[in-house]
């Protein structure tokens, strides 16, 4: 058994760790053996790789997240010996803590059904080089795989920002539900709000499963202004036309980048979710285009309104694709993204510049021209505004963040009601 002195108490409270003292756990179950304590052990990547290589999936310790092993306290002595045999006791890992838990009946059912076979498919790589080769050979990474910590972090960071942006996109549409002209448009905005919030939900779940941050931590960080969301949600929408620019031009930019991720993304669950998201975003574009055409076909005032909005939004949309991708970009290297920021921006320009011209609008870029191959070339981009959005100090950042926090707090009663009803159901089942 683990003695109290073996536990590094300071590690128990450090914010990056998922185990917190006193927190109830309900999953301590090793193939039919119930145990009441779980010990968490920190490993570095090299230790971790050697460990998983040596023991495969039949070890008495389970891998957890990136750099941790978990072992039941009843198995701890056995683990310690095995570890010393395999890796050497000089390299002994750090103990992070232990905690109690209970086992609900459901876990027993789960163990018997599927989980025995699951880990057979867990793959592990000896080094990042081996992992790179796997990625280069079109490999798809699954959540149970022993992926390098840096890969996990990069995929997580990318997905967290995507999820945050879907949530802000939904809130942005929701603002217009009551303001959009006509029932037909209100219905469309209502449905799009639901889509975007739904997308955020899917993405938060897949991101949380990576074990870097929990869903609640992601939301807390977002509401406290500690995390990032796309630059286009840092600006004010002054008129209805601004919202149309968002619904058409911004959505199209988002779709362009998402399609490029979907095409060849190496992280399986993200790719699968993206397939549904991209398909629904395509539907949003049709709504956006229809609204744009209404203004483009409308009165001088309507056309002027759209032009003014376009003048405000062109630069943010160009920024949306991001500054030129640097050499050695990890997202490209690991096939999270399959195209560089410039390539995507260029693809967008070639499609939307002529389209906007054909509707009789002007792009607010005096140096915009066609080169010898008839391709549209934009002027140099001033990145100043992008950096202020990246530090959450854009024109509307504070208000947007405050609004998202208010939306979360206002719906607390719904979550409480759901919790109570599921608790009631659970206790009814036990009875």
């Amino acid at each position: 058994m683990l003695a109290d002195g073996d536990v590094d108490q300071s590690m128990l409270t450090s914010p990056g760790l998922h185990l917190q003292k006193g927190q109830q756990r309900s999953y301590l179950f090793f193939d039919g053996i119930q145990t009441n304590k779980l010990i968490k052990i920190g490993l570095n990547f090299s230790q971790r790789s050697r460990w998983t290589h040596a023991l495969g999936c039949t070890s008495s310790a389970a891998t957890l997240g990136e750099e941790f092993l978990c072992v039941a306290s009843s198995e701890f002595a056995c683990f310690k010996q095995t570890f010393a045999d395999v890796i050497g006791s000089g390299d002994y890992p750090k103990l992070l803590g232990c905690e109690s838990g209970q086992v609900p009946l459901r876990s027993i059912e789960l163990t018997n059904r599927t989980f025995g076979q699951q880990n057979v498919h867990m793959r592990t790589w000896a080094s990042e080089v081996a992992f790179d080769d796997f990625i280069a050979a079109e490999g798809i990474v699954e959540p149970g795989d022993d992926m390098p910590p840096r890969y996990r972090k990069e995929v997580f960071r990318f997905m967290e920002m995507h999820a945050n942006s879907e949530l802000f996109g939904g809130l942005c549409e929701q603002y217009w539900v009551s303001r959009a002209p006509g029932l037909h448009r209100k219905l469309a905005f209502l449905a799009k709000t639901q889509d975007e919030i739904g997308h955020a939900h899917l993405l938060y779940m897949v991101a949380a499963d990576l074990g870097v941050k929990t869903r609640q931590q992601m939301l807390d960080d977002l509401f406290a202004g500690r995390s990032k969301f796309h630059n286009v949600f840092h600006y004010k929408t002054h008129t209805w036309a601004d919202q149309i620019v968002i619904a058409f031009l911004v959505d199209a930019a988002a779709l362009t980048t998402q399609q490029a991720v979907l095409k060849n993304c190496s992280y399986g669950p993200y790719r699968r979710v993206l397939r549904r998201i991209v398909s629904e975003e395509g539907f949003h574009m049709r709504h956006g285009e229809e609204m744009l055409l209404t203004l483009a076909d409308g009165t001088d005032i309507q056309r002027h309104m759209f032009q003014a909005a376009l003048d405000r939004w062109w630069e943010p949309v160009m920024h949306f694709f991001g500054p030129p991708t640097k050499d050695g970009d990890l997202l490209i290297r690991w096939r999270v993204k399959s195209e560089t920021n410039e390539a995507l921006r260029d693809k967008y320009i070639q499609k939307f510049v002529p389209m906007l011209h054909s509707y009789g609008f002007t792009i607010p870029d005096p140096t915009l021209h066609q080169n010898a191959e008839d391709r549209w070339v934009i002027g140099d981009i001033d990145w100043t505004a992008l950096s202020s959005t990246q530090s959450n100090s854009g024109e509307d950042s504070r208000q947007r963040i405050a609004r998202s926090r208010a939306a979360w707090e206002d719906t607390e009663w719904v979550r409480r009601a759901l919790d109570q009803s599921s608790q009631a159901q659970a206790s009814a089942q036990v009875a």
Binding site: Y27, I33, T58, S60, C70, R113, D209, G211, G268, S279
Partner: protein, 185 residues
């Protein structure tokens, strides 16, 4: 049935759903009836998956265009609200195509993960990105999946609706990881 009528019917059955690219409204079971008169005017009766579906205007528009392109002289698209749509109306091809999208359709009271066939589906939200689908977490392959829903009572799935369980990824992670593991005894 004459040639025109079968052409029109085939054309409108293959109209793609606007939110599920590549899956036809015929395979989703949205087409109730197609009547084409001798003069070539078509009356098409469609059923929405649910009452407030935001895609109906787009579906109507696409259906009209498909019928005209197939040779109908006049088209009237009506939506029927009397007998609701159910998931039983989805064809086998539709089920396969939806599964490729990560969307499951229950058979009776049975429902499995469209990616790995496991029945370890845990409900996260009765309503997902679209009102006609619920969000589920597959605890076996750790993917988010959606399940088509209709106005009937929900199929009985193994996982109970338990939002709290999924509240923290760490707990989840721990659950699946620990449960995966074999122990030398």
């Amino acid at each position: 049935m004459n040639d025109l009528a079968s052409d029109v019917e085939a054309a409108i059955r293959s109209v793609s759903d606007p939110e599920l690219a590549g899956i036809s409204i015929g395979d989703l079971g949205l087409v109730r009836s197609v009547k084409v008169s001798a003069s070539g005017s078509a009356v098409i009766l469609l059923v929405p998956t649910f009452l407030g579906c935001p895609a109906l205007q787009v579906i109507r528009h696409d259906t009209e265009r498909a019928a005209l392109a197939a040779g109908a002289t006049e088209v009237e698209v009506r939506f029927e609200y009397g007998t609701p749509w159910t998931t039983d109306a989805v064809s086998e091809i539709g089920r396969q195509q939806l599964a490729a999208f990560g969307i499951a359709v229950a058979r009776g009271d049975q429902c499995a993960c469209p990616y790995c066939d496991s029945t370890l589906l845990l409900e996260l939200s009765p309503v997902g990105p679209a009102a006609c689908r619920s969000s589920f977490w597959c605890d076996a392959c750790r993917n988010i999946v959606e399940v088509f829903r209709d106005s009937r009572p929900k199929p009985i799935l193994l996982g109970t609706p338990h939002r709290k369980m999924k509240e923290t990824a760490t707990k989840k992670d721990l659950a699946s990881v620990l449960l995966d593991t074999h122990v030398h005894v």
